[in-house]
């Protein structure tokens, strides 16, 4: 008896002690995940599920108004690539990228070089160059709506004073895309300048001095010393610029609606138009899948470039 009691009594608290840590251990194990849960649920709902959903949608056809969907295989993709407007939008996007990215990056670097020394005048000029990147693209579009107005707009008014004749900036199919390119350069160059200003501050001063002593002129220093050393910055800016090219179409919606005759139709605008105005969800989904694929390919490529750039710089 005594031995049983003696063996049981001290056991009780031990058993309790064991159970308590187990429960609190589960809680302790779970709570990091519970902190992440709100973010993870939202990311799943609006980033990862949509990719599954858009893949599914691109393989199906939905009759507008009806609840049933029809599996059509790659039919939407076939239609998409047979659609001249889509092919045109891809070409336009390439021209738009080739027109905006190199010029705005080059201007950004020049602005940064000219304004890198900190003085009151320079900081005012930097702020003014930065202004366009802070306003909504829609507001920029509204401004340029007037600036590009044929005959009486700001451009034509002052060109007229110089004795020059303007053109129909947004109405001429050969010019309209370039007008949009101009807006984008105006809006983004100041933003990219910021990154180059930061990049220039990290340049080793002795290397530039050495180049100067060796008799390198300003152009040679820029070409052979500054630009190579800024490669990581450029890679980073390039990624941002390319993402902008693919994801910003507010000015197209406000100013041209893709026209005249599809000359300013960018891919995202095409998607918007198919989904929002033509209710062709299958085709819009197929075009979205193509865009997501391009974006992912671009980011893998850019990460590699950035890594290489970082190695080159170090």
């Amino acid at each position: 008896m005594t031995s049983v009691i003696a063996s049981e009594i001290p056991r009780l608290p031990v058993a309790r002690q064991k159970r308590r840590p187990l429960r609190s251990r589960i809680i302790r194990r779970a709570w990091p995940y519970s902190l992440l849960a709100p973010s993870l649920v939202l990311l799943a709902a609006f980033t990862y599920m949509p990719i599954v959903r858009v893949l599914w949608d691109s393989l199906h056809d939905k009759v507008h108004g009806a609840r049933t969907t029809l599996f059509v295989g790659l039919g939407n993709y076939a239609q998409l690539f047979a659609d001249k407007a889509f092919i045109q939008s891809v070409i336009n996007n390439l021209v738009y990228a080739a027109g905006t990215v190199p010029i705005s990056m080059a201007l950004a670097l020049l602005f940064a070089l000219a304004l890198q020394r900190s003085s009151r005048v320079n900081s005012v000029m930097r702020a003014l160059l930065l202004f366009p990147s802070m306003i909504p693209l829609v507001a920029a579009a509204a401004l340029f709506f007037f600036i590009f107005l044929p005959g009486v707009g700001l451009f034509d008014y002052y060109l007229g004073k110089l004795g020059l004749q303007g053109t129909n900036w947004l109405g001429d199919p050969d010019v309209a895309l370039w007008s949009l390119i101009g807006i984008t350069i105006w809006k983004n160059a100041g933003y990219y300048m910021l990154f180059y200003l930061a990049g220039l501050q990290t340049l080793p001063g002795d290397v530039l001095e050495a180049a100067t002593i060796d008799g390198a002129n300003a152009w040679q220093r820029l070409r052979h010393v500054i630009v190579p050393l800024l490669a990581p910055t450029s890679a980073f800016v390039l990624v941002i610029a390319l993402i902008n090219v693919l994801t910003q179409v507010d000015h197209v919606i406000v100013l041209t609606k893709g026209g005249p005759s599809n000359s300013t139709k960018l891919v995202l605008y095409y998607i918007f138009e198919q989904a929002h105005e033509n209710f062709a969800y299958g085709r819009a989904a197929a075009a979205s899948v193509v865009s997501v694929a391009v974006l992912l390919a671009m980011s893998v490529f850019s990460l590699k470039t950035m890594e290489r750039g970082a190695h080159a710089a170090s």
């Binding site: 990091p32 995940y33 902190l35 992440l36 709100p38 993870l40 939202l42 990311l43 709902a45 609006f46 980033t47 990862y48 599920m49 949509p50 990719i51 959903r53 858009v54 602005f111 000219a114 005048v121 000029m125 702020a127 003014l128 930065l130 202004f131 366009p132 802070m134 909504p136 693209l137 829609v138 507001a139 920029a140 579009a141 509204a142 401004l143 709506f145 007037f146 009486v152 707009g153 700001l154 008014y157 910021l194 990154f195 930061a198 980073f236 941002i240 994801t247 179409v249 507010d250 919606i253 406000v254 995202l268 918007f272 989904a275 969800y281 989904a285 979205s288 997501v292 974006l295 980011s299």
Partner: protein, 275 residues
């Protein structure tokens, strides 16, 4: 050497003036009296008139700008408020806790930085419709309540804070949320401000997504209102009104910039990929 400095300065002054002419025109045109609207002088950059508030009054009366301001503020600040909670919790977990699968989950977050929302508008609109949120401001806000960029920013910020402070609080018997609230978050203020600036600006300026979700005048935001304004005045000659409207949309951002210039620049650089 000094001479080239002056040449560069002069050249840049000219470029900056040219770059700023759209803003200059907005300012001049928005205060131009209506009587001269429509005539050729509308394009002039010279304020050759007696300034008037007429255009701004008209924007508030016919343009419904008060309502647009309210809706935009609800969207931008609503998103920010929820984001601050989600990014603080997630950032804390990544910065301070060890748990199985942490690196994998971190990569799951990382991928979202590249899959920027505009590319997924079509499926996301489907989700919003399924949830019964089509046409509501909540439908505009919901996809942005979590932010991978914000989570990174908070993770980095928390990591820079020495652990001693938390240890002292823990010894005093503080719970983790008390430590987070009273110790870590106050010290993470620069990170929070940087994120707030980027987030507010991104959603104040957003257009395509709200345009797709919102379907009635009652819920429209500033950018949608301004776009309707611009397209509407195409035939008419209300350029003064359009300039005033544009100025009203830009003003809060430019004012914020003037006050918080340094934070703006810092957080702008931080972001790159917007939140």
């Amino acid at each position: 050497m000094k001479r080239t400095g002056f040449i560069v300065l002069g050249l840049m002054a000219a470029v900056v003036f040219f770059w700023s002419t759209p803003f200059l025109w907005t300012l001049v045109a928005s205060f131009r009296p209506e009587s001269s609207a429509g005539d050729i002088r509308m394009a002039s950059l010279l304020p050759d008139y007696k300034p008037t508030w007429e255009n701004f009054e008209a924007a508030f009366e016919t343009g419904n700008f008060a309502l647009y301001y309210l809706n935009t503020a609800i969207v931008a600040f609503g998103i920010l408020a929820v984001q601050l909670v989600t990014i603080s919790l997630a950032g804390y977990a990544f910065a301070r806790l060890r748990f199985p699968g942490r690196d994998f989950i971190f990569y799951v977050f990382l991928l979202q930085l590249m899959l920027v929302p505009p590319i997924l508008i079509v499926p996301n609109l489907g989700t919003i419709v399924d949830l019964g949120l089509y046409g509501s401001l909540l439908g505009v806000m919901l996809p942005y309540f979590a932010s991978a960029f914000g989570t990174f920013l908070m993770r980095q910020t928390f990591r820079q804070i020495p652990r001693d402070f938390e240890e002292a609080a823990t010894i005093d018997g503080a719970h983790w949320w008390q430590t987070l609230w009273h110790v870590l978050l106050p010290m993470a203020k620069p990170g929070l401000v940087a994120f707030a600036v980027v987030s507010l600006m991104a959603h104040w300026n957003e257009f395509l997504w709200p345009l797709m979700v919102l379907n009635e005048p009652r819920t429209q935001t500033l950018t949608i209102g301004l776009a309707a304004f611009a397209v509407g005045s195409e035939g008419g000659k209300d350029w003064g009104l359009l300039a005033a409207g544009t100025l009203l949309v830009m003003f809060p951002l430019l004012a914020l910039f003037a006050v918080f210039q340094r934070q703006f620049v810092n957080s702008f650089m931080f972001s790159g990929l917007k939140g």
